[in-house]
Symmetry: C2
Subunit: 478 residues, 2 copies
C-alpha cells in the first residue's frame, strides 16, 4: 500500500503546486472561485480525498480560503507582496555590439509605455479611421454565411484580390484577381517569394541601407546577402548590380523601389525599366517590395518594376500595414510566373490567411473608403514630413544632413562622424525617446553615424520637445 500512498502524496502536492503557479502569475485572481471538489476530481481523474488534500495545502499556505456553503476562493494577491530586489543594471557598451544585439534592444522599446516612439515606421492611431474600419469588420462578418469562422480560399479572399487588381491600375499594372495571393502582412509575402525562387546557400541582392527585417528574414532562410549601394536620388546602383551579377551567382534581387526604407527614394521610371531588362537578360527574379508605394507626396502614384515586367519575373509584395492597420496582418503578393509555387508554400506553411481581417479590408477597399482615407493620409504625412525636417534643422547641429523623402514615413539622418547612432539610441532612451540607430540597416553595422526617425505621428509639442532633446544629445556627442 505504500506505493499508493506515495503516489497520492505526489499527486495532491503536484496539483496544489500548479494552482500556486497560476495564482502567483495572476492567472487565477483574488476572489476567483475554484472548481468544486467533485468537479476537480472529475477533471483530473483523481479521488475526492486527493482533491481535498490539495485544497487544504493551498489553504494552509494562505493562497485560498474556504467560504461556508460557497466553496473555495483565491485570497492571495501577488501585487500586494513587496517586489524582490532588482538585479544591478549593466550598461551595454556601444562598441563591439552586433547588429542582432542592437536589434533586440530596439525591439524591446517598441511595446514600452511612456516612450515617444520615433523608431516605429507605422501610422499613429490618429491617422487611422479606426471606427470606419471596425464598421467594415462587422459588416464583413455579418455578410459571411459562417460569420467568417470558416477557412478562406487558399489563394485568399476574392473581394480583396479583385480590389488589389483594381488598384494595380494606379501603378500601371495589368493584372486580375487570379494573379494575386493574399498573405499575413508583407513580411510573409516576402518570405514566400524568397522561398519560391531560392534555396539555402543562394545569394540575394538587396538595397543598402535597407530595412533590417529583410536581411533578418534572409539569414533565417540560410541565404547570403549582397548589399547594393542605394543612391539617395535614383535608388539601387544598377551599374554596381550589373557588375556584381557578372561575377557572383545572384539568384534573386529584393528591392524597395518606391520610398525605400530608410532613404525614402523613388527609383525613376527609366531606371525601373532598366532594372527589369537587366534581370530579364539573366532570368533573375526580382522581388519588389512596394509596401510604401501608395504613400506618395507627389501628384501621381509612382510606377513599379512589375509594370515593366514582360516575363513574369517580377514578384510584387505589399500590404495595408503601413497605410491602414498593421495589426490586421493583411498583405499580398503578385508573384508572376511563380504563383503556383507561392500558393503551394502558403498552403503548406499557413493553410490559409485569417478570414475576418481579409474580408474587412476587402470591403473597406470595395466601398471606396480606402481611397478616401489615403487621400487624407498622404496630405497629413507630407505635412508631418516637412515639420519634422524643419524641427531637425532648428535643433540639430548645422552639419546634420537629412533625406528628402518623396513619400513614406521615415527620415534618414546623417550626423558628424563622431556621433554613434547606437550610443545616441541608448542616451535618448533614458529620456524616453526611441529612435532607430543606423547600425541596424546593414548586416555589418556600417552606418554608425546615422539614425532613422519616423514621422508617422503628426507633429506636435511632444515631438518638438523630443527632437529638441535629441538635438542637444547629438551636439554633446559631436
Amino acid at each position: 500500500m505504500d506505493g499508493t500512498i506515495l503516489k497520492e502524496e505526489f499527486l495532491y502536492s503536484q496539483i496544489a503546486e500548479r494552482f500556486e503557479t497560476q495564482i502567483e502569475n495572476n492567472i487565477l485572481k483574488t476572489g476567483d472561485k475554484l472548481l468544486s471538489l467533485r468537479a476537480l476530481s472529475k477533471e483530473q481523474g483523481i479521488s475526492i480525498s486527493t482533491a481535498f488534500k490539495a485544497y487544504i495545502e493551498l489553504e494552509n499556505k494562505g493562497f485560498i480560503e474556504a467560504r461556508a456553503k460557497s466553496g473555495y476562493f483565491v485570497r492571495y494577491n501577488p501585487s500586494k507582496i513587496p517586489k524582490p530586489l532588482d538585479k544591478p543594471e549593466t550598461e551595454t557598451s556601444f562598441e563591439n555590439v552586433g547588429v542582432d544585439e542592437i536589434l533586440r534592444m530596439v525591439h524591446k522599446t517598441m511595446s514600452q509605455e511612456g516612450v515617444v516612439k520615433l523608431s516605429q515606421a507605422v501610422p499613429s492611431a490618429e491617422l487611422i479611421p479606426v471606427a470606419k474600419l471596425s464598421k467594415a469588420m462587422m459588416e464583413a462578418i455579418r455578410k459571411s454565411p459562417t460569420n467568417c469562422t470558416g477557412y478562406e480560399e487558399i489563394q485568399g479572399n476574392l473581394t480583396l484580390r479583385k480590389q488589389v487588381a483594381k488598384h494595380a491600375f494606379g501603378w500601371n499594372g495589368n493584372i486580375t484577381e487570379n494573379d494575386v495571393v493574399t498573405t499575413q502582412g508583407c513580411m510573409e509575402a516576402l518570405v514566400f517569394c524568397l522561398k519560391a525562387v531560392t534555396e539555402a546557400g543562394d545569394t540575394v541582392a538587396i538595397d543598402s541601407p535597407t530595412y533590417f527585417g529583410i536581411f533578418n528574414a534572409m539569414k533565417s532562410l540560410g541565404l547570403k546577402v549582397l548589399e547594393i549601394p542605394t543612391d539617395p536620388e535614383t535608388g539601387a546602383n544598377l551599374e554596381y548590380l550589373e557588375k556584381a551579377i557578372e561575377k557572383i551567382p545572384v539568384k534573386a534581387c529584393l528591392f524597395v523601389t518606391n520610398f525605400a526604407n530608410p532613404l525614402g527614394v523613388i527609383m525613376p521610371d527609366h531606371r525601373k525599366k532598366q532594372l527589369v531588362e537587366l534581370l530579364a537578360k539573366k532570368q533573375i527574379p526580382l522581388i519588389e517590395d512596394d509596401i510604401y508605394g501608395e504613400m506618395y507626396f507627389g501628384k501621381t502614384r509612382p510606377k513599379t518594376c512589375k509594370s515593366f515586367d514582360k516575363e513574369g519575373l517580377v514578384m510584387l509584395c505589399s500590404s495595408v500595414s503601413k497605410t491602414l492597420a498593421p495589426g490586421y496582418r493583411v498583405g499580398w503578393c503578385i508573384p508572376g510566373k511563380f504563383i503556383d509555387k507561392v500558393i503551394s508554400l502558403k498552403l503548406t506553411h499557413s493553410v490559409s490567411s485569417a478570414t475576418p481581417t481579409q474580408a474587412a479590408i476587402g470591403l473597406f477597399f470595395e466601398t471606396g473608403r480606402y481611397d478616401l482615407h489615403m487621400r487624407k493620409m498622404r496630405k497629413a504625412l507630407h505635412t508631418s514630413c516637412l515639420r519634422y525636417i524643419q524641427a531637425i534643422s532648428d535643433y540639430f547641429p548645422k552639419e546634420t544632413k537629412v533625406s528628402r523623402p518623396q513619400g513614406g514615413y521615415v527620415l534618414w539622418i546623417e550626423m558628424n562622424k563622431k556621433v554613434n547612432g547606437f550610443e545616441l539610441f541608448q542616451q535618448a532612451l533614458k529620456q524616453n525617446i526611441s529612435i532607430s540607430p543606423g547600425q541596424i540597416f546593414s548586416t555589418d553595422a556600417r552606418f554608425t553615424n546615422y539614425i532613422r526617425i519616423s514621422f508617422g505621428t503628426p507633429y506636435n509639442e511632444e515631438i518638438r520637445i523630443s527632437i529638441q532633446k535629441l538635438g542637444k544629445l547629438v551636439e554633446g556627442m559631436s
Copy 2:
C-alpha cells in the same frame, strides 16, 4: 514629332487594354462609373487627349458608353457572352499517381459547392457558436484603445496566453503566459518549432499514417521524413522508434499524441512518459501536436507528453481551428527551452499575429464561453461518431474495418485489398461526395485500401445517403 505620336498611340491603347482586362474579369462591373477624363489624366500622368482616346477606343469596342453630362460607364457584361467550349475532360488513372497529385485533387474539392464534404476534418458551421464568437470579436475591438488596428506584442495577445496557460491545467501542465507564443493556426506553430530545432537535410520521425500537411511542411523545409508505424491502440511504436534512433541521426520527433489523425488513438499515459524519457536520454526535441486534445469523448482530458517534460524538450502546438473557428487562424505553441528561438522566428517571418482575431479568442476563453461550447461540442461529436460508425456497418461490405476513435473528428476505414482509395475518391466525387483517400496519409501512398472520413457534420439524412452510396461503390469494387 513622330516619336511623340508613336508614344501616345502606345500609351492610350495600353490604358484601354488594361480597362478591357478589368471589365472582362468583372473587376469593373456593368454600370460602374469610370474616372472622369481629368481624374484619369491626373492619376496616370497623361494628357487629357490621351485619356479621351483611350475611352473612345473602349466605346468603339462596346466596353463602355458615354452618358450625356454624367461621364463614362461600363456597359459590357462578360457573363452574358456564351462560354467557350470546354476542353475534353481527361480522366486521371488511379495508378501511378503521386501523393502530390492526389493531394492537389483532394484540395480542389474543398471549396467546391454542392459536394458533401466527408473529407474535411473541421467543425461544421452548426457546431460553432458563430453569433457568440462574433460578439466576442466586437467586444474585443471595442475594448482595445486602437480598435485592434495596432501591432500585437510579438509573443502574442496577453489574455489569450494567460487563458492557454490556465487551460493547460486540464492536461496536467504547469505553465504561465510567459511560456506561450501565439501563431497563425497550429500549422505555423509546427513550422516554427521544426525550424527552431532542425536544418535542411535533417531527419524527423513522425506517425504513420499521419496528416499529409505534416510531411508536406517537412518536405518544404528540406527535412527527411522517418515514418514510425502507429498502433491503433497505443500510438507511435516506441520500440521501433528506439531502434531507429540508434541507427539514424533523428534530429526531432513530431507526434500527434491525442487522437492522432487519421487513427484517432490516444497514446496511453505510461507510453507518453516512456517517450519523453527515451527522447530526453538522447536530448531529441519532441514536437507534440495536440490540436485534437480538447475533443475527448471520455470523462477526462487526456494528458500530454509536455506534462511529463522535465527538460523543456517538448514543444506543444495547438489551435482553435478544430474546436472553434478555423478561419480565425489562432494557434499557439509552448516551445519549452526553445522559446527564444521560436519568438525570433515569429518576428522574422510574420512580425506578429493578427490583433483582432487573437483578442476575440482570448475574450471568448476568458468569459468561460469556450468551456461551455466545448462541453456541448464533445457530446455532439461523440454522438456523431457513433452514428457514422453504425451507418458504415449498415452499408459497407461486412469485411470493412473501422477505427474506434476516443476523440477527434475522423474515422479511418480499412477495406478489402482490392479497393483502391483514390479510385473510390474519384467515383464518389462524381456523385458529389468528397472523401480522403488513404494514399495521402503517407509519403509513399502505401495505404491504398484505406479512406478517411470526417464526422464533423452532425449525422443527418444527407450523410446517411452519402454513406449508403459510398458503401455501394465499395461493394462494386470489392
